[in-house]
Amino acid sequence: MSSSTRGCIFVIEDSEDIRDLIKLLYESEGYPVEFAGDGKEALEKLRSFAPPPCVILLDLMMPGMDGYQFRAEQIKDSKMAAIPTLVMTADSNAEEKAKRVGASGFLRKPVNIDVLIKVAEKYCV
């Protein structure tokens, strides 16, 4: 975890390649970033974060605990629920899926790095 007083960008994504590339991008842009491979790992890590992440990027379709189940657990905890959460999905109904899980927004896959940078600028400056 970064020594910065800002919270990190927390990416929950099962594809290792995508995690590697997002890490490369955000670190080269100077944003602290943390990762989880599924919902269960994400919940465990979230409880240990201080300060909390400035934003969560959430893949919906994952093995183990998927994005939907993660959201259900996340909103049970008021502190976790307060973290802005954007779904990151290949689903053509991304907007509808985001609404369904009560997310603050969505990123459609394949995602552009401009969008990833705007997310960081909006939530983590």
Binding site: S15, D17, I18, D20, L21, I22, L24, L25, S28, M61, M62, P63, G64, D66, T89, A90, D91, S92, K109, P110, V111, N112, I113, D114
Partner: protein, 553 residues
């Protein structure tokens, strides 16, 4: 009573006088005389041995209109109509009374004024103690009223009898209290086929079928009719020739004037045609109802099938989108990060390790995309019936070995161990590329669902068939899922758990079918699955089309 010259009449007068003076001295004979003379409802008088009237009483005066003084001494034939007199009927009656002691009849008699009345007449011979005929007593009663009533009743009964006998559309007959037939009509003859003379006296159970007789339906009907006055039933009844007809039967209790049971009337209608029509209608209705139910069920099933197909397709679209866009996301991020850094003139990220990693990732993602696209193309080919095969001499043992060798990395990554038992000479005419797809799919499934466990591959030849099996010790497949895993867009577990489109087994099945073969699964939850493929050694080439080549020089 007026005085008379006759001795008996004089005696009467004496008696009256005595009576007026006191009864103490009245003889027994006198008392009888008084009694007889005072009777109003019967004409009671004496005839001498020749039939001449000797006494007269009040009843005789009233019925016949003669006073004693004008009739005593006359022959009693004055009361008879001319034709009876001509026939010597009065004399015959006296002869009978003399011979038998008594004569009784009912017949027409004349009054003084010439009118008729219907009389009951009893003539009794009177003899003295020596048996010598002394005369006759004659007792006559006017029964005109009774006679008239009887006539009316008889006429009425006769009319009813004729009417009932003539009725053709109803069998109407009577039973005695025990159920024996006492009358018969035309309708009964027509329905049941018996003539009156052959059925009267028989029991009405003759008309009942054997099961009804065993159940004592006839007895029950009489008990009910006796108790409740009436019973109405419908049922099959027998004709004389043994055929059956559907009868509506009403049995009614018949009482005498004092309420005692004297028998039953039985009215039967033949409703066979109505019954048959009803039964046909019911059959038609039932058939209609059944076909309606079947149709509804069929529509329900079809709707459910369609809904399932739509759900499966929607899920496939979602899974396909995810599967295709995941490698695309990685590729886009690589490209854009590279561009961004080059545009900024920052080359620091392009270390040897980074570039090597990028190159490997690129190749992997392209490979993955390429397989996904190929699967989807296969699906569309199968859908339009154009799964192309190109058969050539192939050694299946070598083919299986080759696939396992090439898949070694993935097997190792899944912590699996492959044990092989391959009969070496399993050769046939097959499409190598397609069979590799099948083996790869089965092996890939075994590593996905049975990670960390042993995989066993067996190959052998049985007659003109090659039999290949791939067994894992993974999670296993439920009986219900075993039926659908070979369908398009189906997989046993949630698409999130394992990557892929869920098309593999469907494509494998289609390939096996093109090789005149079968693919089956045996599985137990928690113990693992065994897929067995059986193909003909020399299947018929289904199409002449060659599969599109990867390259050509």
């Amino acid at each position: 009573m007026t005085s008379d010259k006759s001795a008996i009449s004089s005696a009467n007068q004496d008696t009256n006088r005595h009576n007026a003076m006191g009864t103490s001295a009245v003889s027994e004979n006198d008392r009888f005389k008084l009694l007889v003379e005072s009777i109003l409802d019967y004409a009671i008088f004496m005839l001498d041995i020749h039939g001449k009237i000797a006494t007269w009483n009040e009843g005789a005066r009233r019925f016949k209109g003669y006073e004693a003084n004008e009739i005593i001494g006359k022959h009693f034939s004055v009361f008879y109509p001319e034709e009876d007199k001509a026939a010597k009927k009065p004399e015959m009656e006296l002869e009978i009374a003399q011979r038998d002691g008594r004569f009784e009849e009912e017949g027409l008699r004349l009054r003084k004024d010439g009118t008729n009345f219907w009389a009951n007449v009893v003539i009794t011979a009177i003899r003295d103690s020596k048996g010598e005929l002394k005369g006759y007593s004659k007792v006559t009663r006017d029964i005109s009223d009774k006679k008239q009533a009887e006539d009316k009743l008889r006429q009425s009964e006769e009319r009813y009898r004729l009417m009932i006998e003539a009725v053709k559309d109803y069998a109407i007959f009577m039973l005695d209290p025990k159920g024996y037939i006492t009358t018969w009509n035309e309708g009964a003859r027509r329905f049941k086929g018996y003539e009156a003379k052959e059925i009267i006296g028989k029991h009405f159970s003759t008309f009942y079928t054997e099961p009804d007789i065993i159940a004592d339906i006839p007895g029950y009907e009489l008990i009910e009719a006796t108790a409740n006055g009436r019973i109405e039933m419908e049922g099959w009844r027998l004709r004389k020739d043994g055929t059956q007809f559907w009868a509506n039967v009403v049995i009614t209790r018949v009482n005498d004037g004092t309420g005692n049971l004297i028998g039953f009337t039985k009215v039967t209608r033949d409703l066979t045609e109505r019954k048959i029509a009803q039964e046909k209608l019911q059959e038609v209705n039932e058939a209609l109802e059944q076909s309606k139910v079947n149709l509804e069920k069929r529509v329900e099933e079809r709707t459910e099938e369609l809904q399932k197909a739509v759900r499966a397709r929607d899920e496939f679209v979602s899974v396909a989108s995810h599967e295709l866009k995941t490698p695309l996301t990685a590729l886009r991020l690589q490209a854009q990060i590279t561009q961004r850094n080059i545009n900024r003139g920052d080359f620091s990220i392009f270390t040897k390790e980074r570039v090597t990693q990028f190159a490997n990732q690129l190749d992997t993602q392209v490979d993955r995309l390429s397989h996904l696209v190929e699967d989807m193309l296969d699906i569309s080919r199968i859908q339009v019936g154009k799964l192309t095969t190109s058969f050539e001499k192939t050694n299946l043992s070598n083919l299986v070995q080759g696939v396992v060798d090439r898949f070694q990395v993935q097997v190792a990554a899944a912590n699996c161990e492959v044990e092989m038992d391959l009969q070496p000479d399993v050769e046939g005419n097959w499409d190598q590329f397609r069979l590799e797809q099948v083996v790869l799919n089965l092996l890939s499934n075994a590593t996905k669902y049975g990670a960390g466990k042993k995989i066993k591959i067996e190959l052998l030849k049985e007659n003109d068939r090659a039999v290949l099996s791939v067994a894992d010790h993974g999670m296993g497949i439920s009986k219900e899922d075993q039926e659908r895993i070979f369908e398009r867009f189906e997989r046993a577990i949630s698409p999130n758990e394992v990557s892929g489109l869920g098309l593999g087994l469907y494509i494998a099945k289609e390939i096996v079918i093109a090789h005149e073969g079968t693919i089956e699964v045996e599985s137990d939850i928690g113990k693992g699955s065994k897929f067995t493929v059986e193909i003909a050694l020399n299947p018929k080439q289904p199409t002449q089309h060659k599969r599109s080549q990867d390259y050509e020089f």
